[in-house]
C-alpha cells in the first residue's frame, strides 16, 4: 500500500511536472508566436519593446529588462529599451569594451551571472565592473544573433535574493533571444532599406534639382543671365549671403568679377591679377582646387567688395574653379555670415551647379565669339555687296558713258533737222504771204484753177523716195521738159518732182508756159515746203521721243527694283534704239522674235543684260556684220539669243569670260565686269546663260529665264 501510495504520489508529481512543463511549453509557444507577429512592424517602436518585455515577463522574472543594439561598424552598444527598479539605471550608449554586455556580444554566448562568477571574471581581467560595484543578485544576458551576426543583446536581472535564475531560465532566454534576433535583424534590414530608400530619394531629388539648375543655366547664352540664374538656385538651396563669379580675362592674366552680390547688393566689377597675394578667387584659380574656408583667418585678409558695406563678417566661404572642356575659365564663390554654413551635401550641390555654370559660361563665351565672328562676316558681306553694287553701278555708268556720245548724235541729228525745218517753214510762210497775192493777181481764172490743183498735189502725203530714185525721176522729167523746149529743164524738173506734179507734165503745161512760171513754181514749192518741213519735224520729233524714252528706261539708277511682268521684246527694242546709231552703220540686224508671254523679272537689270550682250556683239564684229536677236519659248523658260558674226572666242577665252575682271579689251575700255554682272543678274532671276563660239565665225550668247520668275 505504501508502495502504491508512493508510486501514486510519484506519478502525480511526475504528472504535475509534466503538466507544468506542458504549460510552460504552451506559454513558450504563445510567446514565440507573439514575437513572430512583431515582425509585421517595419521598424522598432517603443511599444514593440514593451510588448517584448511583457512576453519575456510571462516566461520568467523580468522586472529589470534591457534590450541593446550593437553597432559593429562604430563599435557602439546602444540601449534601446530599459526598465529597471534601480533609478540610477538610465538608458545609455557606450563603446563596446570590457563590460558584461560586451562580454555577451564578444563571446556570442548567453551568460548566467552571480556575484561569484562576476567577481572571478573581474579578477581574471575578462570584464570590468561598471561603476565599480555589483548590485544584482542574479544576471542573465543573451546575444541577439541572426544569420551569424550579433545585433545586440537582451538582459534580465534580479536585485532580489528570492529570485535567482537557473540554467533552464538561461536556456529559455537564449531561445527567446534567438527569435527576437530574427525580428531585430528584420527591423535592421528594414531600417537600412528605408535609409537607402531615403538616401536614394534624397539623391534623386538632388539630381532633379541639379538637372533643373543645369537646364536653367544652359538655356541662356548671356553670361550675366547665367550668373543670376545660378545665384537664384544657390540661394534657394544653400545658406548664402554673398555670391560671385569671376572669369579669366581674355588676355589671360587676371580674374574679372563679372558678378558679385553680397547682402542683396550687386558690387561693381572688380579685377584681380593672377599674382594677387590675398584674393581667394585668384588662389583658387591658381591652385586649381576647391577652397573651403570656415572661420578662417584668410577670410579676413581677403579683399572685400568695394561698394558694399558688410552687414556682418563672412564666416564661411567656398571657392571653386569653373572648368569647361578641361579649361579653367574662372572661379565661382558662395559665402555666408554663418559659421560652418556648408555641409557635405551643400558642397555637392554647389559643385554640380558650378560644373553646369562652367559649361553655360563657356557656351556663352563661345556664342559671343561666334556672334562677333558672324557680325564681322555679315559686315564683310555687306561691304562686299556695297563694293559689288558700286562696281555694277560703275560698269553701268561706263556703258552709259560709251553710249552717251552715240546718243548725242542720235538726238542732235533730229534736233538739227527740226531747227532747220522750223526755220524753213517760217521763211516759206513769209515768202508765201508776200508773194501769193501778187501772183494770184497775175493769174487768170483758168490758171488759178491749175495753180490750186498744183498746190493740192503738193500737199499730198509724199511717197518716200531715196535720193537716188528721186534723181532718176528728175532726170527723166528733165528730158521731157527739154523735149518740150522748156528752159531751165533740170531746175524745173526738180521742182515738179518736189511738188508731186511730174507724172502728168501735160497737165502742167499751161503753168509751165505761163510767163511767171518761175514765180508760180517757187511760190507753190514754198507753200509745199511748209507741209514737207512740218512732216519732217514730226518725223524728227518721233525719233527724239523714241530715244528719250529708251534712255529713260535704260538709265534708271538706284531706283527700287520691282519684279514686274515684262515684255522682253520691248526691252530688246529699247536696247536696239540706244544702239541704233552703232547698228545702222554696217550692221545687218535680224530679228527672230516669237510671241512670248511677259516674263516676271527686274526689267532694268534684264535690260542691262541685253545692253551688255548687244554691246559685246557689236564690238566683237567691229560694227560690221550680222546681229541676230532671237526670242523664243522653251517650256517654262524664255530663251533670248544674241548672235554676232564677229571674231569669236578661243576655248580658253570662252572659259573665262564670266570671271570678274577678265577682259580682252585694251586697258581702260572694259572693266571686265560686264559678263560677270550679266551672269549674276541672270542667276538672280533663276536663269542660265550659255555661250557657243567659234574663232572667225562669231558667238551666240543664249539666256534662259524662267517665265514665272523666281520670287
Amino acid at each position: 500500500m505504501l508502495d502504491e501510495t508512493a508510486q501514486l504520489s510519484e506519478r502525480i508529481a511526475n504528472l504535475e511536472i509534466e503538466l507544468a512543463e506542458r504549460r510552460r511549453a504552451e506559454e513558450l509557444q504563445r510567446a514565440l508566436y507573439e514575437i513572430a507577429a512583431l515582425s509585421a512592424a517595419d521598424s522598432p517602436q517603443h511599444e514593440h519593446y514593451v510588448e517584448l518585455h511583457e512576453i519575456v515577463g510571462r516566461l520568467m522574472y523580468a522586472k529589470n529588462f534591457i534590450i541593446a543594439s550593437f553597432d559593429a561598424e562604430q563599435g557602439m552598444i546602444r540601449q534601446q529599451y530599459l526598465v529597471d527598479e534601480d533609478p540610477n539605471e538610465v538608458m545609455e550608449s557606450f563603446p563596446f569594451g570590457e563590460g558584461i554586455s560586451s562580454l555577451v556580444i564578444r563571446s556570442r554566448l548567453p551568460w548566467l551571472m552571480d556575484h561569484a562568477l562576476f567577481e572571478s571574471l573581474v579578477a581574471a581581467g575578462e570584464i570590468r565592473a561598471p561603476r565599480g560595484v555589483v548590485d544584482f543578485n542574479s544576471w542573465m544576458g543573451a546575444p541577439l544573433i541572426a544569420q551569424d551576426r550579433v545585433y545586440g543583446l537582451i538582459i534580465v536581472q534580479s536585485y532580489s535574493a528570492d529570485v535567482t535564475y537557473t540554467q533552464a531560465d538561461l536556456d529559455l532566454l537564449n531561445y527567446v533571444a534567438s527569435h527576437v534576433a530574427a525580428i531585430v535583424a528584420r527591423w535592421q534590414s528594414n531600417i537600412a532599406l528605408k535609409q537607402a530608400n531615403d538616401e536614394l530619394a534624397a539623391s534623386a531629388e538632388t539630381l532633379r534639382l541639379l538637372g533643373d539648375i543645369g537646364k536653367d543655366l544652359t538655356v541662356s547664352l548671356d553670361a550675366l543671365a547665367i550668373c543670376m540664374t545660378m545665384e537664384k538656385h544657390i540661394a534657394a538651396l544653400l545658406p548664402m549671403d554673398a555670391f560671385g563669379v569671376a572669369l579669366l580675362a581674355p588676355d589671360g592674366d587676371s580674374l574679372d568679377y563679372i558678378y558679385y552680390i553680397e547682402d542683396g547688393v550687386v558690387d561693381s566689377a572688380n579685377s584681380y591679377p593672377l599674382d594677387h597675394p590675398t584674393s581667394l578667387a585668384v588662389l583658387t584659380f591658381r591652385e586649381d582646387r576647391e577652397l573651403t574656408l570656415f572661420n578662417d583667418t584668410q577670410l579676413g585678409s581677403a579683399p572685400t567688395a568695394t561698394n558694399i558695406e558688410e552687414s556682418a563678417p563672412i564666416l564661411s566661404a567656398v571657392f571653386r574653379p569653373l572648368i569647361a572642356n578641361g579649361r579653367r575659365i574662372g572661379v565661382v564663390t558662395v559665402q555666408s555670415h554663418l559659421a560652418d554654413a556648408y555641409q557635405e551635401r551643400d558642397l555637392e550641390v554647389f559643385r554640380s551647379a558650378t560644373a553646369y555654370a562652367a559649361i553655360a559660361l563657356a557656351n556663352a563665351d563661345a556664342y559671343a565669339t561666334a556672334e562677333a565672328a558672324r557680325a564681322q562676316a555679315a559686315q564683310a558681306l555687306h561691304d562686299l555687296h556695297q563694293a559689288e553694287a558700286h562696281l555694277v553701278h560703275s560698269e553701268k555708268m561706263a556703258a552709259l558713258g560709251q553710249l552717251i556720245a552715240g546718243v548725242a548724235h542720235e538726238i542732235n541729228t533730229p534736233i538739227g533737222a527740226i531747227k532747220s525745218s522750223g526755220r524753213n517753214i517760217s521763211e516759206a510762210l513769209d515768202s508765201a504771204l508776200l508773194d501769193l497775192p501778187g501772183l494770184l493777181d497775175e493769174l487768170d481764172a483758168a490758171h488759178r484753177v491749175h495753180f490750186s490743183e498744183l498746190l493740192k498735189r503738193a500737199s499730198q502725203p509724199k511717197a518716200v523716195l531715196s535720193t537716188r530714185e528721186e534723181r532718176a525721176i528728175v532726170r527723166e522729167v528733165t528730158e521731157k521738159l527739154e523735149a518740150l523746149g522748156l528752159g531751165q529743164a533740170r531746175h524745173r524738173a526738180g521742182l515738179l518732182v518736189q511738188l508731186q506734179s511730174h507724172t502728168d507734165v501735160d497737165a502742167m503745161l499751161p503753168l509751165l508756159r505761163h510767163p511767171a512760171v518761175d514765180r508760180i513754181l517757187d511760190t507753190a514749192h514754198g507753200i509745199a515746203t511748209i507741209t514737207t518741213n512740218a512732216d519732217n519735224i514730226n518725223t524728227a520729233v518721233d525719233r527724239v521721243a523714241k530715244i528719250i524714252f529708251a534712255l529713260k528706261s535704260f538709265s534708271r539708277f538706284g531706283g527700287v527694283q520691282v519684279w514686274t511682268e515684262s515684255d522682253l521684246r520691248e526691252g530688246l527694242e529699247t536696247v536696239l534704239t540706244i544702239y541704233q546709231n552703232q547698228i545702222k552703220h554696217g550692221i545687218e540686224l535680224i530679228r527672230n522674235f516669237d510671241d512670248l508671254p511677259p516674263v516676271r523679272c527686274l526689267p532694268d537689270e534684264i535690260n542691262q543684260v541685253w545692253t551688255n550682250l548687244v554691246h559685246n556683239a557689236l564690238q566683237a564684229m567691229d560694227h560690221k556684220g550680222n546681229l541676230t536677236l532671237g526670242l523664243r519659248r522653251d517650256g517654262d523658260n524664255a530663251l533670248v539669243s544674241v548672235t554676232d558674226t564677229g571674231c569669236g572666242m578661243t576655248p580658253e577665252v570662252r572659259a573665262r569670260i564670266f570671271d570678274a575682271f577678265f577682259t580682252t579689251k585694251p586697258a581702260g575700255e572694259g572693266t571686265g565686269l560686264g559678263l560677270d554682272i550679266v551672269r549674276k543678274i541672270i542667276e538672280k532671276h533663276g536663269g542660265h546663260i550659255f555661250v557657243e563660239s567659234e574663232v572667225g565665225r562669231g558667238s551666240t550668247f543664249t539666256v534662259s529665264l524662267p517665265i514665272a520668275g523666281v520670287e
Binding site: 552715240g406 541729228t413 538739227g416 533737222a417 531747227k419 516759206a428 531715196s466 535720193t467 533740170r490 517757187d522
Partner: protein, 133 residues
Amino acid sequence: MEKGVLLCVDDEIIVLTALKDQLRRAFGSDFHIDVAESAEEALELLDELALDGHKLLVIVSDWLMPGMKGDEFLIKAHERFPSVVKIMLSGQAESAAVDRARREAALHDFLSKPWNAAALVESINQGLKERAV
C-alpha cells in the same frame, strides 16, 4: 553751162530734207542743190555731175554714216575736186577724223548738229569767197 552744184551728204533723210529747203532758199537762184544718203552714193553722183558738165562747188557732209565715214569721203572728193568747198556737219565726230579731214581734204569748216542755218550759209559764202581768191 549748168548752174554750180551744192551737194549735201547725210544718212538721215530728215536732215537732207531740212538742208535742201534751207540751202535752196539761200542759194537756189544761183546753185543747184543735190543730196545723197551715203558717201558711196555721193561719189557716184560726183561722176554723174562731172559727166553732165555740172560744176561742183560745195560739199556739206555728215561724218558718222553707214559705210564710208565723212572724213574718208571728203578726202576722196578732195582728190578729184581739190577746189570744192568742203564742210563737215555732224552731231558726233571723232576729233582725229576732223583733224584728218582738215589736213587731207582741206576741210573748210566743221559745224556740229544741231546747226544754225545762218552760220551754215555764212560758212558756205565764206568758202566760196576764199575759193574765188
